[in-house]
C-alpha cells in the first residue's frame, strides 16, 4: 500500500524543522526539489502500524510566486496531492501565521491540520487561545504543541491519522473579501469556467491569483485561454485597480489580514499587557534618541572596563613571558645578528603584538555576547538615526557595524546599497570605524599610559572616530556626492539569553585570526623593521634606514608633538595596524622605555592618529575594487589630512588644558 503523504507548511522560524525531526526521528532524506536548488527534506513516521511520508516544504509567509521557496511550496500543495497538510502556526504571532493558512484555504484544500506550536511561550506572554473555538472558527483540527519539549507530537500523529483516514473531515473557512472584490472574483471565475483549467485548479483560487497579477497563473491562463482572453481579463483587472486607486494584490492582502483579525477575536485573548513584552520595554530605552545613546556609551564603557580589568593583567603576564623567553634565549645564540633578529626583532615585535591576545579575545567575546543578545541590532538602529542626520544613507549602517570587526568586508558590504552615491559615501566613511586591529593599538596605548582611566580613554577614541566619521559623511554628502535615499526598514530580533557555546566559538574564531596575522604579516613586518632599524648601523647612530625614513617625516610629526619613531610605526601600520605596536616594541625595546619616552598626551595623540590616519593596505585595495583608484586615493588623502588635523588639534588643546 502506498504511503500517505503529509506536507508540512509554515512560516520560517515557527519550529517546522523541530516538528519534522520529532515526527520522523532519524528516518530522513535530504535532496533538492526538481530543477531548483531548494532543499527538500522527506522523512517517514509510523503510527498504528501505518507508515506516513512527511514532506517538509520551504518556510514561507504566503503562497505568491515572488520567491522560488513560495513557488515550490505552492506547486507541491497544488500538484503533489498530499493526503494531509500540517500547517505549523506559531502561537505567539497568530495574525502573521494565519495569513499563510488562509492562502492554503484559498486553494480550496480541505485536509488541513493546524499544529499550534510554541504554546508554552504564548502562555508565558499572556496569550490565551481557546483551542476548541479556534478549531470551530477555522473549520480544521487544531493541535496545541510545544515541539521543542516534545509536547503534542503524539496528538499530532493521531490527528494526521484520523484526517488521512477520513475519520475527521475538516471544513476550512473560506476567506472572503468585500463585496466589490467578491464580484471581481466571480466575474473572472465565470470567464475561466468551462475550461480545462478548472479541472486541474480551483477556479476561485485562479481568479484570486489573476487579480494579484500572479505571473505563473497568467502563464497558465495564456496557455489554456489564449492571449485575447487573458488581455480581456487583465484589462478588467486594470479597471478595478483604477477604481480602487491601489494594486489588487495589496487590496486582497489587506482584506485577508482584516478577515483574520476578525476571526482571531473569537478564540484569542491577551491577559497581560499585549505587545509590551520585555523586548518592547527595553527597546523604549535602548533605541530612544537620547537614552539610547547614553545606554550605548555605558554599555561600551562597561565592555572596555571588563576587557581591561581581566585582559591587562593577562597581557602583562604574556608580555613578561615573552621578555623572559627572550632573555633566556639570548645567551644561547652566539651570532650577534641572529640574536638581534630573534630576540629584538621577532620576539620583541611579534611578542609585543601577541601579548594583546587576551584583550582582543575578551573584546570579541563581549561583541559576540552583545550580538547574540540582540543588542548590536539596536546599535544599528541608533546609529542609523544619527547617520541620516549627517547625510549618510541609513542603509550604510550595516557596513559600518561590520567595520568594527574588519574594514575590508565592511567595504565589500557597501555593495548592498543600491545607489552609486550611497556606496561611495559609505566607502568614504567606513575606514574611520576602528577595526579590531586598531583596537590592539588603542588597548596598547590606553593600558600602558592610562592606568586608571584606560576604559574611558579607549571609549573616547572610539567616540572621536565615530564623530569624525559622521562629520566626514556630512562633508562628502554635501560637497562630493549627492543623491536621494531609498526607504528601508530594520526588523529587530527579540532579546535572548546568549548561547555560551556559540559565543565562545565565535570569539575564538575571530581571535584566531589575530594569532594567524601575528604569525604572518606581523612576523615579516617585524623582521623588516628590525632590519631597517639595525642597518647599515643600529638605531641611535642616526644612520639606520628606519631613522632616515622617520627623520624625513619628523618635521610633519612634530606638528602634533610626535617623533620619527611614530612616523616609522605609522608607516608600517599601513600594512597592518598591529605593526604600530610591533614597531614600537622593536624601536624602544620595552614597554617601560616607551612609557618613559612619551607623555600621556602624546600617547593619546598617537592613539587618535593611528585610528584615523589611513586605512590598511587591504582596505585601500577593497575600496579600489569596489569603486576606482581615484576614489581610493581621495579616501586615503582625506584620512591623512583629517588625522593630522585632529592630531594637531588634540595636542594643542591638551597642552592648553595643561595635560
Amino acid at each position: 500500500m502506498a504511503m500517505k503523504v503529509v506536507a508540512l507548511a509554515g512560516n520560517p522560524n515557527v519550529g517546522k524543522t523541530t516538528v519534522f525531526n520529532a515526527l520522523t526521528g532519524m528516518r530522513q532524506h535530504v535532496g533538492n526539489w526538481p530543477g531548483v536548488t531548494v532543499e527538500k527534506k522527506e522523512g517517514v513516521f509510523e503510527y498504528k502500524g501505518e507508515r506516513f511520508l512527511v514532506v517538509d516544504l520551504p518556510g514561507t509567509y504566503s503562497l505568491t510566486a515572488h520567491s522560488i521557496d513560495e513557488l515550490v511550496a505552492r506547486n507541491f500543495l497544488l500538484n503533489g496531492n498530499p493526503d494531509v497538510i500540517v500547517n505549523i502556526v506559531d502561537a505567539t504571532s497568530i495574525l502573521r501565521n494565519l495569513f499563510l493558512t488562509m492562502e492554503i484555504f484559498d486553494m480550496g484544500l480541505k485536509n488541513v491540520v493546524i499544529a499550534l506550536n510554541k504554546m508554552d511561550l504564548a502562555e508565558k506572554r499572556g496569550i490565551k487561545i481557546d483551542i476548541r473555538k479556534m478549531a470551530e472558527t477555522l473549520g480544521v483540527p487544531v493541535v496545541p504543541m510545544s515541539a521543542k519539549e516534545g509536547v503534542g507530537i503524539e496528538e499530532l500523529k493521531e490527528t494526521v491519522y484520523n484526517v488521512a483516514h477520513g475519520k475527521v473531515r475538516p471544513n476550512p473557512v473560506t476567506p472572503t473579501y468585500d463585496p466589490d472584490v467578491e464580484r471581481e472574483i466571480r466575474h473572472i471565475s465565470m470567464a475561466l469556467s468551462q475550461t480545462e483549467l478548472t479541472e486541474r485548479y480551483p477556479v476561485r483560487w485562479l481568479a484570486i491569483k489573476l487579480l494579484q497579477r500572479d505571473d505563473e497563473v497568467m502563464k497558465l491562463v495564456l496557455r489554456y485561454l489564449g492571449e485575447e482572453k487573458l488581455k480581456e481579463i487583465m484589462g478588467h483587472i486594470g479597471e478595478a485597480e483604477a477604481k480602487y486607486g491601489r494594486a489588487m494584490d495589496l487590496i486582497l492582502a489587506s482584506q485577508k489580514y482584516e478577515f483574520i483579525d476578525n476571526l482571531m477575536h473569537r478564540f484569542i485573548r491577551y491577559t497581560k499587557s499585549e505587545g509590551i513584552n520585555l523586548t518592547d520595554q527595553l527597546d523604549r530605552l535602548l533605541i530612544h534618541p537620547l537614552y539610547g545613546f547614553l545606554a550605548l556609551g555605558i554599555v561600551f564603557y562597561v565592555v572596555f572596563k571588563f576587557v581591561f580589568a581581566i585582559g591587562l593583567p593577562l597581557q602583562g603576564v604574556l608580555d613578561d613571558s615573552f621578555s623572559a623567553f627572550g632573555e633566556w634565549l639570548a645567551p644561547h645564540i652566539a651570532s650577534e645578528t641572529l640574536r638581534g633578529l630573534l630576540v629584538d626583532g621577532i620576539i620583541g615585535g611579534v611578542g609585543a603584538v601577541l601579548s594583546f591576545f587576551p584583550l582582543v579575545f575578551l573584546l570579541f567575546l563581549s561583541l559576540s555576547v552583545l550580538e547574540d543578545v540582540g543588542y548590536m541590532a539596536r546599535v544599528a538602529v541608533l546609529m542609523e538615526k544619527l547617520m541620516r542626520k549627517f547625510g549618510l544613507p541609513g542603509k550604510a549602517v550595516i557596513p559600518l557595524i561590520l567595520g568594527l570587526g574588519c574594514n575590508v568586508p565592511a567595504v565589500m558590504a557597501t555593495r548592498t546599497l543600491d545607489e552609486e552615491r550611497d556606496r561611495l559615501v559609505a566607502m568614504f566613511v567606513n575606514p574611520f570605524i576602528p577595526c579590531s586591529a586598531r583596537l590592539s593599538v588603542i588597548s596598547f596605548i590606553s593600558g600602558a599610559f592610562f592606568a586608571k582611566h584606560h576604559a574611558l580613554v579607549a571609549v573616547s577614541v572610539y567616540l572621536l572616530a565615530i564623530v569624525v566619521a559622521l562629520l566626514s559623511a556630512r562633508f562628502v554628502s554635501t560637497f562630493l556626492v549627492k543623491g536621494e535615499e531609498t526607504p528601508f526598514v530594520i526588523e529587530l530580533p527579540d532579546y535572548l539569553i546568549p548561547s555560551w557555546k556559540t559565543v565562545l566559538l565565535h570569539s575564538w574564531e575571530r581571535s584566531k585570526e589575530f594569532v594567524q596575522k601575528a604569525g604572518t604579516v606581523i612576523l615579516f613586518g617585524s623582521i623588516f623593521i628590525w632590519y631597517l632599524s639595525n642597518y647599515p648601523l643600529p638605531v641611535g647612530t642616526g644612520s639606520s634606514y628606519a631613522e632616515k625614513i622617520g627623520m624625513f617625516f619628523e618635521p610633519y610629526m612634530k606638528l602634533m608633538s610626535l617623533d620619527w619613531k611614530a612616523a616609522v610605526s605609522l608607516l608600517f601600520g599601513i600594512i597592518a595596524k598591529e605593526n604600530v605596536i610591533s614597531t614600537y616594541g622593536i624601536l624602544y625595546g620595552s614597554a617601560d622605555a616607551l612609557v618613559n619616552a612619551m607623555t600621556p598626551l602624546q600617547a593619546y595623540v598617537l592613539a587618535v592618529v593611528t585610528t584615523l590616519y589611513i586605512p590598511c593596505i587591504a582596505t585601500i585595495a577593497a575600496i579600489r575594487a569596489e569603486s576606482n583608484w581615484r576614489w581610493a586615493a581621495i579616501v586615503t588623502v582625506y584620512m591623512i589630512f583629517v588625522a593630522s588635523l585632529v592630531g594637531i588639534t588634540v595636542w594643542h588643546l591638551g597642552s592648553v588644558l595643561g595635560y
Partner: protein, 90 residues
C-alpha cells in the same frame, strides 16, 4: 486602509523600524513585522543581505577567522513596485 497599507506607507514615509511604525500606528510590533513579511511576499519590500555576501566574497576570507560583526537584524528595502505605487497615488 488596512495594516498592510499603513505599514507600507510608513516605510515609504521613512519610518525605519517596526517599533517606530508600531508606535505611530498604535499597533503591536509583531503585527507590523507580520505586515512587513506579507509585503515581502507581495514583492513590495525585499530583504537585503547584510554581511554574508561581503564575507563570502572578501579577499581576506582564507586568512580571516570571521572578524565580521553582524547584528542579528533583518533589513528590508522598498522595491520599484512600491515606488510605482507611491508615484501612481500621487
Amino acid at each position: 486602509m488596512s495594516i498592510i497599507d499603513d505599514v507600507l506607507e510608513a516605510i515609504l514615509e521613512g519610518k525605519k523600524n517596526p517599533s517606530e511604525i508600531a508606535s505611530e500606528l498604535k499597533l503591536d510590533r509583531e503585527e507590523v513585522e507580520g505586515a512587513i513579511n506579507i509585503l515581502q511576499s507581495l514583492g513590495y519590500v525585499e530583504r537585503i543581505e547584510k554581511g554574508s555576501n561581503a564575507c563570502s566574497s572578501c579577499p581576506l576570507k582564507k586568512v580571516c577567522g570571521g572578524s565580521c560583526v553582524l547584528p542579528k537584524s533583518r533589513t528590508y528595502v522598498v522595491t520599484e513596485k512600491a515606488f510605482s505605487l507611491k508615484n501612481h497615488s500621487q
